[in-house]
């Protein structure tokens, strides 16, 4: 009895000693934000202006049961309401085959359907989306992760031809976390700044993306080389991030070649290259160029505004031959940052200008005013989107 008690005590003591240094590292972490986003869409100034509101809550949970395991869960809860929702629903009633708003926002690209509408009416949809749900196992230099996760292979700050597992739409500025994909990823760190990894993903059409990547650092540059299969195409890519003098210099390129018609088709090269410079006064400048070998030098429109959100993958970042991106940002005070970004298609002369000002109201509360001012002739790349104005109040916790 006594022996059992002492062994229990010593066990408790060992546990206590072991948990000492671990105490600083919490086993469970939760964070997220709650925001309200108001949007006004002006297709043409003398046509009716359309509005939409979104109440959006994001929750992230990290659980670290022991030093080898990590589990992550990310959930988005959104309520979209207003005229734009209603107008899309009215359109769906008249045009056969056209998605209504609910089906549009709850279409999940992943193998598993992790989007669900809780309630919807003609002018609102309340839905949730799990965009992170995965476990990660770490043993020494080896890491494996399984589940819905973000696999980010992009380097360039605007366009990412190497980001073949997930792509993001530049104009969807309010979703910085970006969607996840249903995948397995294995990584092995071969050095302090180098690694090899392979990942396998299945999408909602049961199409497979599988690829490998080698990352290394040399001459103060980060480099990456990749190859694999993305849906119906073989892909080879490379990317880098480094500096010329004091300016940041980065780029990435991917070459796609159809799997089906390998012998009788030409491939597609999608490449972005960028530079950025920060002055001592904190003025920040960025310039990027996107090249698409299969892009058109004619009108590169995709159709309506919502078509832009669908099916964006590294082959369809743009339908044009070239896009040029420029950005200037400046923190007017540490609380107020101003940003002016623009994209220009030199072939069809269409473009976009996005001024924004973000104000930190309190420690965790911020207010954003922003515009997406699209301009160009009809059927050009940016000509049919009109002008969109946003205000956003965001509380992070």
């Amino acid at each position: 009895m006594l022996q059992r008690r002492t062994s229990f005590l010593s066990f408790a003591l060992i546990l206590l000693l072991c948990s000492g240094p671990l105490q600083a590292q919490k086993k469970f972490m939760a964070s997220g934000h709650l925001e309200t986003l108001e949007m006004v869409w002006i297709e043409e100034f003398d046509k009716p202006w359309q509005t939409m509101g979104t109440i959006y809550n994001r929750l992230d949970f990290n659980w670290y049961p022991n030093q080898h395991l990590t589990f992550r869960l990310g959930i988005r809860n959104l309520l979209d309401y207003g005229q734009i929702v209603g107008n899309i629903n009215n359109l769906a009633k008249t045009i056969p085959g056209q998605d209504d708003y609910k089906s549009f926002v709850t279409l999940d690209d992943g193998y598993f359907d992790l989007k669900k509408a809780w309630a919807s009416g003609n002018s609102y949809t309340l839905y949730s989306n799990i965009d992170r749900l995965y476990g990660q196992l770490t043993f020494g230099n080896f890491e494996a992760s399984l589940g819905r996760q973000r696999i980010n292979w992009g380097i360039n700050l605007v366009w990412n031809p190497n980001d073949i597992f997930n792509t993001f739409n530049y104009f969807n500025f309010d979703y910085v976390e970006r969607p996840g994909c249903d995948a397995v990823r294995l990584q092995y760190y071969t050095g302090m700044t180098s690694s090899v990894q392979t990942a396998f993903k299945v999408n909602h059409e049961n199409k497979i993306t599988v690829a490998g990547m080698y990352k290394f650092n040399r001459w103060n540059y980060d480099f990456q080389l990749m190859g694999g299969l993305m849906n119906d195409d073989y892909v080879l890519g490379l990317g880098w991030a480094g500096q010329i003098e004091k300016a940041g210099f980065n780029g990435e390129a991917s070459y796609f070649h159809s799997k089906e018609n390998f012998s009788d088709s030409t491939g597609q090269l999608m490449a972005s290259i960028g530079a950025n410079y920060t002055l001592r006064s904190s003025w920040y400048f960025q310039l990027s160029v996107l090249y698409n070998s299969k892009g058109t030098t004619g009108k590169a429109g995709r159709g309506n505004l919502f078509a832009m959100n669908l099916d964006i993958n590294p082959k369809t970042i743009t339908l044009a031959r070239y896009n040029i991106f420029g950005q200037v940002s400046y923190p007017i005070t540490p609380l107020i940052s101003a940003d002016l970004s623009g994209i220009f298609n030199p072939s069809d002369k269409s473009g976009f200008i996005g001024p924004s000002v973000e104000i930190s109201l309190k420690q965790n509360l911020s207010f954003l005013v922003m515009a997406q001012w699209f301009t160009g002739k009809s059927e050009t790349e940016y000509g049919d989107y009109g002008k969109i104005f946003y205000t956003r109040l965001k509380w992070s916790f």
Partner: protein
């Protein structure tokens, strides 16, 4: 007689020691080296809170830091909520920023190093100390002073030609016995005073006593300052260069 001899001997020893200690008055560079070593240790691990103070408002940023020599730094942001989880890593001349919520790694170019760090009166450079206070400057003792009841040397730092440093000149007050850095004045290339730094609240931190409170005040701007408080600091901890890896950058918390 015997006692007298002992006294004489002791006297000689004392005089001798006085001479020796006088002969060994450290050079300006040695003073700076000792003070820097004391402040950094061979390695360190700790928690800090930075408060940006302006006339109308203030903001707090909390972080965990790890360092090894001057070559390796890692910073993990614990607050504010929006920035939480961001990691900065410095290995030799390379610096990265990792954002876990979007799984994005950004390589920070040199021009960004001069930028104010998260809106404070510190630059990225101040934070990870890319330039070395010991190696990048010539040092000279320009005076003596008494600060917070400590006798101090006043040391002037003049940048070596071609050194990649931000300042035109620095004056620093270092206490003679304890080697505390207690005050510094930062001048631009035109010899104009830009920032005043003061250190106070000496406390036990790990194996040593150090100022735990630091204030950086830009002289041109009324009511502006950035305060750094060391909440916890341990020195000469067991950290290897391997800790400062891209892999670990994604794992620290």
């Amino acid at each position: 007689m015997r006692i007298k001899a002992i006294f004489t001997l002791l006297l000689f020893i004392m005089i001798g020691m006085g001479f020796i200690s006088h002969a060994q008055e450290p050079t300006a560079k040695e003073i700076v080296q000792t003070a820097t070593d004391k402040l950094n240790g061979k390695s360190s691990r700790g928690e800090m809170k930075m408060t940006i103070i302006r006339p109308e408002w203030s903001r707090e940023i909390s972080m965990k830091v790890w360092s090894l020599g001057t070559e390796y730094y890692m910073i993990y942001i614990t607050a504010p909520a929006r920035e939480r989880g961001q990691v900065f890593l410095k290995r030799h001349e390379d610096m990265w920023n990792y954002m876990p919520n979007i799984d994005r790694m950004i390589k920070i170019p040199p021009s960004m190093m001069m930028q104010s760090w998260m809106g404070s009166d510190f630059t990225n450079n101040d934070l990870v100390k890319v330039s070395s206070m010991v190696e990048d400057y010539n040092h000279s003792i320009i005076g003596q002073d008494s600060l917070l009841e400590y006798d101090c040397w006043i040391i002037q730092f003049d940048p070596k030609p071609n050194a990649a440093v931000v300042w035109g000149k620095i004056e620093m007050w270092i206490s003679k016995e304890e080697y505390y850095e207690l005050k510094a004045k930062y001048y631009d290339e035109d010899d104009k005073l830009v920032n005043k730094e003061t250190m106070s609240d000496i406390e036990q931190m790990g194996d040593r006593r150090l100022p735990s409170h630091m204030e950086m005040v830009p002289v041109d701007e009324e009511g502006h300052k950035t305060v750094m408080d060391f909440i916890e600091m341990k020195f000469n901890v067991d950290l290897q260069p391997e800790f400062f890896s891209i892999q670990n950058m994604k794992r620290v918390r």
